[in-house]
């Protein structure tokens, strides 16, 4: 498996029960290597970029998408899968060129339209945009908008720091 890791083992590790902000580590499948972090943007809707994202502003333009009007630049995008036109990789790379790309992608299942852009971004623009999928927990349920997410595409791991302070220690 190139640039990826499919790991079994413990489902989930909780760290720092004494810390005020909960940090959760979830194993995933690493598809595009590198490490990046940012604020999460989360949707249960698929996204395909062509006709859906303005690469010049990084703003989602699809009227049917719940991210309409939101900017993806520098965000960790958490959504189930790609969709739609095969032109998506083109729009993604143009967003990279114009400095409007997201920081990383976290999917339930990543497909070709989503994969090609980040691979070529590293190759042609020196931009590391890690991509992971198949997390051991549904990322669209676990991660909420505004959570801080570190994506490690080499190790196949995401680290989620909840935005809301939680006192509870029994969240798994």
């Amino acid at each position: 498996m190139r640039g990826g890791s499919r790991q079994g083992g413990d489902r989930l590790t909780r760290e720092g029960a004494s810390a005020q902000r909960e940090r959760i580590i979830v194993r995933c499948r690493g598809l595009v290597g590198g490490r990046a972090e940012g604020e999460a943007l989360v949707s249960s809707q698929p996204l395909g970029f062509w006709g859906e994202l303005d690469p010049g502003t990084g703003v989602v333009t699809d009227v049917h998408h719940e991210w309409r009007g939101r900017e993806v630049t520098g965000k960790v995008l958490v959504f189930p899968r790609g969709r739609g036109s095969t032109g998506g990789a083109g729009i993604f790379l143009e967003a990279v060129r114009r400095g409007r790309a997201p920081a990383a992608l976290v999917n339930v299942e990543t497909e070709m339209i989503l994969l090609a852009g980040p691979i070529l971004a590293a190759k042609f623009y020196g931009r590391v945009i890690p991509v992971v999928d198949r997390p051991e927990r549904d990322p669209t349920a676990l991660i909420e908008a505004g959570d801080h997410v570190v994506v490690d595409g080499d190790r196949g791991i995401i680290e989620v720091t909840k935005r809301k302070e939680t006192g509870s220690t029994d969240r798994v």
């Binding site: 190139r2 990826g4 595009v32 006709g51 969709r83 095969t86 083109g90 070709m112 190759k123």
Partner: protein
């Protein structure tokens, strides 16, 4: 994934930087999809040449690959581009947009691509055979090649189809494998009585099927086996717009569905759906953002019109003249245009005030600079993407109704 010695050498850069990049992308995709090995492809059909898909980043990447010595290893046609390259002024193409499209054209032609600039390669120049592996982009091309011809391709996105053409191979997964070509959802056309299905119905059937099938393989019963090639083309293009259908089977029509059992390879459908006249009316409503009114663009030829379609249109337009303030664009390729000219249809269209757009189309052109308000079209795909891509209203109608609308300047 298993790689042959030659493939390892390609990946290690012994065949040049462009092939190395292409192989790296393909191997990563193959690993993501659990492919066991690579398979050779007979041809490519490319969408990375469309400026409205790849923009400036695409120009930079494709020029870099060409500079690095990139040469397409299999015959590969260029899909419908973003500007009519011979007469851009006639279609108000902005200079920087045209420049971007021309740079892409030069880079691709330098790598040995076939400048067909059309989304009907399966009818001219690049016609695959049954069972051949190919690496194609563009959803209608993929759908036609898989379904009507029985060639084998996944829906390769921009850049990935280029990598496949540079390497001459793809990872073996998805629709390259027998087991994934089996039908999954059964659609039965019911309730049409003695009414024969018409040209207006086929895109609507495709649209209704795509909405339910999404990315599964639909099997359709009730399509007469004397159905035309143009009708299947329209059905597939629509199913690939409302859903991401890359392969459909029409029982007793398409080659992998001689019988219902054949289409499902002996297994049972996971879902059974009836499609009747009411569903087609709903699809038609869904495809029209307004009920009627003034029309300032009539656009046909998505996918590119065939010679038969141009002939039919010319016969409908003979002796008529479209209204002032209306543009009527027929999108096709230069092969069809040339034949239509020699058969006298070109003159009929010109006399009616209709323009023929080659190399490009209404969706891939500089859509937002045109500022059309309402487009009438006989294409479900134009109607589906038009409002998103061109920011205009769309009305789906039969070809005859489109001609009427152009002459009157309004519809409905």
């Amino acid at each position: 994934m298993y790689l042959t010695r030659e493939e390892e050498l390609m990946l290690e850069g012994h065949y040049g930087e462009a092939v190395e990049t292409a192989m790296e992308v393909l191997v990563r995709i193959g690993d993501a999809y659990g492919a066991g090995r690579m398979v050779g492809v007979a041809s490519g059909h490319l969408v990375s040449c469309i400026y409205n898909v790849v923009f400036e980043a695409g120009v930079e990447v494709v020029e870099a690959l060409a500079r690095a010595g990139g040469r397409l290893r299999v015959p590969s046609t260029l899909c419908t581009g973003s500007a009519p390259l011979r007469n851009p002024g006639e279609f108000r193409v902005p200079g920087d947009w045209l420049e971007g499209q021309r740079r892409l054209a030069a880079a691709f032609e330098g790598m040995g691509a076939v400048p067909l600039w059309s989304c009907t390669p399966y009818l001219h120049v690049n016609v695959p055979r049954f069972g051949q592996n190919i690496a194609w982009g563009e959803s209608n091309c993929v759908c036609y090649a898989n379904s009507v011809i029985g060639a084998r391709t996944n829906r390769y996105p921009s850049y990935v189809e280029l990598c496949a053409a540079l390497a001459g191979r793809v990872p073996e997964f998805g629709l390259h494998l027998d087991e994934n070509r089996r039908g999954q959802v059964l659609f039965e056309l019911k309730g049409f009585g003695r009414r024969a299905l018409s040209d207006v119905d086929y895109p609507l059937i495709g649209y209704a099927v795509g909405l339910v099938a999404v990315d599964r393989v639909p099997v359709i019963t009730g399509i007469p086996n004397d159905v035309g090639r143009d009708q299947l083309k329209a059905l597939g293009a629509a199913a690939a717009s409302s859903g991401s259908v890359a392969l459909y089977h029409a029982v007793e029509v398409t080659p992998e569905a001689r019988t219902l059992k054949d289409a499902f390879r002996g297994e049972r459908p996971s879902e059974r759906v009836e499609i009747g006249p009411g569903d087609l009316s709903s699809a038609r409503e869904e495809l029209s953002t307004v009920g009627g009114g003034r029309v300032d663009l009539v656009a046909v030829g998505c996918p590119h019109y065939t010679l038969d379609q141009v002939a039919e249109l010319a016969n409908l337009l003979r002796g008529k003249r479209i209204a002032d303030g209306v543009e009527f664009w027929v999108c096709t390729n230069r092969i069809v245009e040339e034949a239509a000219e020699r058969m006298g249809y070109g003159g009929v269209l010109r006399a009616a005030g209709v323009k023929v757009m080659t190399d490009s189309c209404v969706l891939n052109g500089p859509t937002f600079t045109w500022n059309f308000e309402t487009m009438a079209t006989d294409s479900a795909k134009f109607a589906h993407y038009g409002p998103m891509q061109a920011g205009c209203n769309a009305i789906y109608a039969g070809t005859g109704e489109c001609v009427e609308a152009a002459v009157r300047g309004e519809i409905g």
